[in-house]
């Protein structure tokens, strides 16, 4: 698997060119606001990448994003538009947050974490059951149903936190808190929790399964042409359920990892909407697990570094959103041009 130098150059420029373009356009906006773009970008890099403590935050932020991304890779490769990851993520988070503080009183922390992760995964899977059923049974388009389930899930998560799982001792509507010491173990003496290991393993596993196994190929065939899959004797219905379950389960694991690694508790009305950011990243990475890691890391740097830079320069944090949008557009543009030229060349 040695890449030719030309390919390396092209794939590096495929990422670098849009970044430079986005930074230039974003810089013009900053100039218009009377701020120094170079100082801004310098702060972003200083904090997000080059300072050890900041880089740790970047890595921590990557963990849930990567897990969601791995779930989306499964779904998208199987041709299923699971746009409901945010609801699945949140409900799984509620499950972990509600359960962990209870279990920890009688179980060791590793067991608590394992059980919570498992339950979170199951909860997320269960939440994807309705769209899976409607798709497998009636061919109902999952974009609608998963979007609906995500709206429903966000509200439902709030209801759960506010009513049955509310911590009466805290005036803020949130669940009980898992003590810091019992959360996912930290790596060495950093603040990075081991969720990043889980996330990386998940991405590699998904990448392997989708590209190197019979199961992955079946999912892709179902995604590409369900009638051909049926013709070839695959059980389209069962594979559809499996796709939803895997995809939602991984997103749910993301929710569990974020709660068990970072928060220790779930607050009502908390919705980071990571799914909305990860969906385009997964596309831009062409559903490739390895590329997803790069993109995710880059956007995590931007999130962490951007917050710092905004604060230091007195630019409202909203600017990061503009930058993210520019990046997505330019990445998509360059990826598209690249796609065209490769199609021209490819025999």
């Amino acid at each position: 698997m040695t890449a030719r130098p030309g390919e390396v150059v092209s794939s590096v420029s495929r990422v670098l060119v849009p970044i430079v373009l986005a930074l230039v356009v974003g810089g013009l906006i900053l100039l218009a606001l009377g701020k120094d773009p170079l100082a801004y970008y310098d702060y972003v890099l200083q904090r997000g990448l080059f300072s050890w403590s900041g880089f740790q935050q970047t890595v921590i932020r990557s963990a849930p994003l990567l897990l969601i991304a791995s779930g989306l890779i499964v779904a998208f490769r199987a041709g299923i538009w699971n746009l409901g990851v945010d609801g699945q993520f949140l409900l799984a988070a509620v499950a972990a947050a509600a359960l962990a503080p209870l279990l920890i009183t009688s179980l060791p922390s590793w067991l608590t974490i394992v059980i919570c992760c498992a339950v979170s995964i199951l909860v997320a899977m269960a939440w994807s059951l309705v769209p899976a059923f409607l798709k497998a049974q009636y061919g109902l388009n999952e974009i609608v149903t998963t979007l609906m389930m995500t709206f429903l899930g966000i509200s439902f998560a709030n209801v759960l936190v506010k009513l049955p799982f509310d911590d009466p001792d805290n005036s803020v509507p949130q669940t009980m808190t898992l003590p810091v010491a019992d959360r996912l173990g930290r790596l060495f003496d950093t603040t990075i929790h081991s969720g990043i290991i889980i996330a990386l393993l998940a991405v590699f596993a998904v990448h392997f399964v989708m590209t190197r196994t019979a199961f992955g190929l079946r999912l892709q065939i179902v995604g590409a042409n369900p009638r051909a899959a049926k013709h070839a004797g695959m059980s389209v219905g069962r594979l559809t359920y499996a796709t939803f379950a895997l995809s939602a389960g991984l997103a749910g694991l993301g929710g569990a990892v974020e709660i068990l690694g970072v928060w220790g508790t779930m607050r009502a009305d908390w919705n980071p909407a990571y799914g909305l950011l990860v969906v385009p990243l997964v596309f831009l990475a062409r559903f490739n697990g390895i590329a997803v890691i790069g993109f995710t890391l880059f956007f995590a740097i931007l999130m962490i570094g951007g917050e710092s830079a905004s604060r230091r320069l007195g630019v409202p944090n909203f600017y990061v959103l503009v930058l993210v949008a520019l990046l997505l557009i330019f990445l998509a543009l360059v990826e598209y041009l690249d796609h065209i030229s490769r199609q021209r060349k490819k025999a």
């Binding site: 019979a214 065939i221 590409a224 042409n225 051909a228 049926k230 013709h231 070839a232 004797g233 695959m234």
Partner: protein, 529 residues
Amino acid sequence: MNPAAGQAPQVSLHGITKRYPGVLANDDISLAFHGGEVHALLGENGAGKSTLIGILAGMQQPDDGHIEIAGKRVRITSPRESLRLRIGTVFQHVLLVNSLTVIENLMLGGAWWQKHDRKSALGRFHEISELLGVEIDPDVPIGRLSLGQQQQVEIIRALWHGGNVLVLDEPTSMLTPQGVEELGAVMRRLSGQGVAIIFVTHKLREAYAFGDRISVLRQGQLAGDIPPERLQALGEEEATNEIIRLMFRAAGEVAGADAETMVREGHGRRARADFDRSGKDAITLNHVVTRAEPGECALADISFSVKPGEVFGIAGVDGNGQKHLAEVLAGQRPALSGAIEVNGTVAAHSGVPARRRLGVRYITDERLGEGTVAGHSVATNLVLKEIGAPPFWRDGVTLWRRIFSHARQVIETHDIRTPSEHTLLGRLSGGNIQKVLLAREISADSSVVIFNKPTYGLDLQNTRLARERIIKAAEQGIATIVISTELDELIELCDRIGVMFGGEMAGIVDNQANAEAQIGRLMTGAKAA
């Protein structure tokens, strides 16, 4: 017959060249199409016929060369431009909108700011369908019509727009023999009115019967043509030989005499395989019934059996339940009631994988719709039905190297024309896709193979190859079922022929001298004597 002779051609192509990644689809083609002439265009699969037609229709732009219409140089930059030049086209793959009705499809293309005028459209529709002698309900959504009917709508549409030039890319592939005759009459009538007609077909008989002039494409180049005078001078036999010579001349692929046998078309019967008529049945159906779905013809009550080594044909007009029968046999569709036995094993309720384990193979008639995955490689498509099984998978892990080397081998032995095994299957020409299907399904461990329209859209050589595969399969002792709407094909290949009508087996005929007449009668719904 040829009033336009001497006049400037209606359409002339000058040095048309079109390249696709890895393929030179059209290579410096210069051709002239005259008004009042039916110009038959022949060529093997992938020869570049559809590409040329796409260029005339404005769907493709040539990389080189130019087009003249009535002596004036034009650039056909879009289908709109083509229609404006009064060129009507029937595309090889139906281009209609399923969710719109027939009449709505025909009205497409009007000025967008206008209300559509259904009334005058209906008038036009009746006029043209009368001319064609077809009967179609204008208010049925296209999606509910059979492919044959859809093709008729396409022809209506081409006439709707095409005043000067009518281009027909394999219009007969979905028609019944009678439909073909009717289309021929229409072409003749139109050419009599001065229309230039370009008629693409794989059937030499059609080309000879309807064509005033014949051109042959070969690997993107114009291999030669037979002008009207010569065509009239030659008899059918000689003309056929001439065409075959043009099609296969170069590279010495086929020596003269072999060509004859290679592309020998219809009318013959294969030598009777001497399979064991008293032996056990390989597959038996007993009173099989399927669930009727809207718009489909279900099986009402089907019983028959096929012995190992026997070729059993299914004849009938398209849409009389053939699809359900094929799917029920393959395990792709459950039988509502009735019994199915494969090699003595009860198999009525087993799905595709279980049937495959029993040796049942099914070559679908929907090559792109369900037979293959267009967006995946040729290599993947060749193992589509074996995903997870050794030798290409070990413990569920894909051994891509083996899959690719297997593919290279199959491409070699089956002469599949593709730039490489990594090429996306959708990029292949129809005939080559069919070769992929055949290569995939016929192997040593199969015991029952169902062919659904195995040669639909194939060129002479590929048709011959496919039929040889069928015969070879039977000779290997495989029970072979051939579903076809082409009676010639069935007569040539089969030992017995069952005729389907309205989801029932109207009768089963031994393939003997008078079989054709009997089958013809059964196909119209008359009961077996």
